[in-house]
Symmetry: C2
Subunit: 137 residues, 2 copies
DNA sequence: TTTTATGCAAATTGTTTGCAGATAA
DNA sequence: TTATCTGCAAACAATTTGCATAAAA
């Protein structure tokens, strides 16, 4: 991950195997795993990595704007290496979180700003329902 | 609150002072309080009410579709007696949560459904930024 | 009088923190 | 070599649970 290495250096953060491994998982999945899930996934390749390190690293990456934290209403946070704002669809049956590319966000942010005077910095849009795989019941 | 009394009876749930008090708070505010906040607010009028009861009651009301739970990315949930879907704006400075009435939700749900095949049941839209009171810095 | 709800305290879960030793620069 | 990071264990905070008592139907 050259991208991450660069970004970390730019922020005067050390490039450690743990940080690379965690970012790598997020960068190569669209599953939006939680800290716990990432930790379990790393146990085979990085058996000494602690859960605390996963949390600390996710916090570091979040502050460095390399990952975004998403909050779908579960009891834990999930993480996404795609930082550009985009909606998510959460399947109520299999709990999967799917990235969407609808562009309603920019338009509606502008509308809100005009209508209410609220200055929009970012936005999150979640759809709850059933994914294509779970629709057939 | 006749509405609540009816709804509870319809679901074979008992009408208790605690349930009335908690629903009443939510029904008469637009502050979207957390369980803790509701608990504190009730201490003067209902000094024997326990925090566990607040949690259990909110869960009951949520299941009875009388309140909705919202998750703005804080460490706790907030509650809203308006169950119809509507966007929320969260001020990053004063942490207030404001109800919005923009109607982007219905349109975009339809769009997502057509584009991706994901069957949308409900949606949540959050805007983060600065409220009119906090913009002047 | 029967069933369900409340209130207490203890348990659980996700996350954070302090600190000594390890590692990147 | 020095500043930062990791990993462990303990701490924390939000929420849940078990159970005896209390209250609604």
């Amino acid at each position: 991950m050259e991208k991450l290495t660069e970004m970390l250096k730019a922020k005067e953060l050390k490039v450690t195997p743990q940080r690379l491994a965690i970012f790598n998982i997020l960068y190569n999945t669209n599953e939006h795993p939680s800290a716990e899930t990432i930790y379990k996934q790393l146990q085979s390749t990085h058996p000494t990595m602690s859960l605390a390190t996963v949390y600390k690293t996710l916090d570091t990456l979040k502050k460095a704007q390399l990952v975004q934290e998403i909050n779908v209403g579960e009891d834990s946070f999930r993480y996404d290496a795609t930082v550009a704002p985009h909606p998510h669809a959460i399947c109520l049956k299999c709990n999967s979180v799917i990235d969407l590319e609808t562009d309603v966000l920019a338009e509606s942010a502008k509308k809100v700003q005009e209508d209410t005077g609220f200055e929009v910095i970012s936005e999150k849009l979640y759809f709850y329902g059933y994914c294509t795989g779970c629709r057939t019941k």
